[in-house]
């Protein structure tokens, strides 16, 4: 099963932030979107990613947007930072998913859907900021890490789960005393993300104790949002419903508000 050496090896192989992305992020964070666009132009892969993303139907542009400075102008600083973190995550996405029945398309849809709903939630909570908005970008890293660590052990996990309903996060913790979210924190640190981002994502497990009231609230919403998404048909089929343990009591008191914010329509189901 997963060993400490395997985890260490995985962490060692997390790619650093490419220089161009680092500089672009710096300009975005200082609010200079023109310089950020010029910098991003230097990385063809980043440019292509931004172009593909902004021209997806979710943004609703009739004509193709191809100019990078125009793209940054449309996104604004908060969303631009979020998109750059999304791009960073693509460096971790496996060519072929081994554990979960996912593909690039389904994973990017999950990222986009999480981001869209998270923004709604933050607006509802009046807690929208650059860091809180960006926190959602790191959350899917936990899925990538899980696939990377357990991909080679799929049949072993199936045997274990045939006698006990254990989720991947619990199995990893019992084997190594580290959770998937601990490894996400390491990724955030390596990518020099704000500590508040990694704290929110860490708390998304629903298991963190002694959180400040704002972090506790964000943790509840992000945990329920994660399970809302992982209950969607494509992700259930992909095997993501068994990814981590759903802490139902942790989110019980925000459930009604959540259903209103995500506009869950019971009558249509």
């Amino acid at each position: 099963m997963v060993t400490q050496e395997q985890i260490s090896h995985y962490i060692q192989n997390i790619p650093p932030v490419p220089d161009v992305v680092k500089q672009t992020l710096g300009f975005v964070q200082s609010g200079d979107l023109i310089k950020a666009a010029k910098c991003a132009e230097q990385d063809p892969a980043l440019k292509l990613y931004l172009k593909t993303l902004i021209n997806r139907p979710i943004y609703g542009f009739r004509n193709e947007v191809s100019d990078v400075s125009q793209i940054f102008g449309i996104l604004g600083t908060s969303t631009a930072q979020q998109i750059l973190y999304h791009y960073l995550l693509t460096l971790l996405v496996p060519q072929e998913w081994k554990l979960f029945a996912l593909n690039h398309h389904a994973f990017y849809d999950l990222q986009a859907s999480l981001s869209r709903k998270w923004e709604k939630i933050l607006r509802h909570l009046n807690l929208l900021s650059r860091d809180t908005e960006s926190a959602i970008t790191l959350l899917p890293a936990s899925i990538i890490v899980c696939d990377a660590l357990f991909g080679e052990h799929k049949s072993e996990v199936e045997q274990l789960r045939s006698v006990k309903a254990l989720d991947y996060n619990t199995i990893l913790y019992r084997l190594s005393k580290q959770t998937l979210f601990d490894i996400c924190t390491v990724i955030a640190h390596k990518w020099e993300m704000s500590p508040s981002i990694s704290r929110i994502v860490h708390a998304a497990s629903g298991l963190d104790q002694n959180l400040e009231s704002k972090e506790q609230l964000l943790a509840q919403w992000i945990h329920l949002l994660l399970f809302y998404e992982l209950s969607q048909s494509p992700y259930v089929s992909a095997g993501l419903n068994e990814f981590i343990d759903f802490q139902i009591e942790f989110v019980q008191d925000i459930y009604e508000s959540f259903m209103q914010v995500v506009e869950y329509d019971e009558s249509n189901r």
């Binding site: 099963m1 006698v163 006990k164 019992r174 084997l175 209950s231 419903n241 759903f246 189901r269």
Partner: protein, 464 residues
Amino acid sequence: MRATVKGRVAIFHPQGFLDGNNAPSFLTLDDIKATEALNVDMLLVSLKKVIFFNKNGLDVFIKLLLSIRNQKHITVGLCDYDHTKFKTINAFYGSNLNFSLFRSEKIAELFAPTNKSDSKTILLYDDDPSQRSAMAIELFDYGHNPVIAQSKKEFNEKKQNPDLYYAVIDDTYLGLFGQKIATRVTGNAIIYTISNFLDAEITNTFNIDYHNNSLNVGFRLFIFDAYKVVSMNVHALNFFTRLASSAAEYNATICFVGLTFEKTPQSFKNDLEDAGMLFFDNMDDILKNKELLQELGGSSAAVTKQVRTLNKTLVNELPHFVEATVSTIAMMTNAKASKESMNVQTLEIQNTTNQYASSIGFYGDVDGMIILVFPKEIAKKACELLIGESTEEEEIILDSLAEFVNIIGGRAKALLGEKKHRVNITLPRTYHDVASLMEMAQNKKGVQVNLSFEGSNFIFFLTR
């Protein structure tokens, strides 16, 4: 999604939201086939981690459950819910509720056969007197001691002392229950409760897999509690004579207790006696008579007259069984177990203190039994992944040891399957000390492999 199997109960554990849009995605065709192939007595869906569900979502699972019940006559239903969810489910299905509801997994397990012989005291209440009675009868037939509260007031009063009861049952419903003959274990005897008029239907309601399992793991005394039997026909007679023949292969004894012959032909009794069945008036005539119990095989399996010997087929497969054990330990602990020595002998345990043991039988193209004997600390270490936090509670450790041995059995089954040997595995059995294991295993010749794990030795023993 695959169901998790514990003992004779299989449970699906969906999480999050369950509605008509996503529920079909939980069950692929392969999942449905795998569920249909399960050898269990109860199939449930846990709602513990489901925050929202609607009728369309539940119906997807219920459809599968009912189809499997129709094929296999097992108990199906939902479990692990709170009072609000219980009321919602009742509102959804109303008078069409034809599956069972168990407030918790622990309560559900009380209504399923196990290998354990401990009788539990259970407080129960239901507004509906017929449900109250049905639950009490089932619990009693499964060997438990139900305490029935006759009113809500009495129930609430009694509930104030939860330490007196293993479980408190409310918000529970038995739907189309009693499809299988209730089974309980007393010491080394298995008791089946039969009632009413017995006919060809008994071949469906008698759990022949459980019975074969029990024979394979060493039970040698089987008692039919027949106080409530009115009569039987020739089909039931044929069934019992066939059962007696198969028991004879294992030197097992089958008894009837409380069966009267007012409406059953006396010739049936003669036929059954010829087949080797014994008849007693009262249960205590057997269970309280130690000498008789020993003679019949209900005090230990060591009294069997004919010891089943190892055969070439089984020995040929030994490497698979050892590999299944060693690889399971490696999977669960990330540490390697190594082989120290191997001999054909009777089970020999040097240090008999502070040891746990467990066994699992298999039958089919190859039959036999794997026995593992561990020092307690090693057993805990091997099960750490299943237990989680460290615990000293013997019942939790032994339950996890059973799950651990079940994984080994599953692996052995898969390895044998690759060689086209089709086998089924029995329920695992655990022993809290060596003495209770030796009651079953002494005199049995087998292959003993002494294995070393983290500086301590443990024993793998393969026998028939």
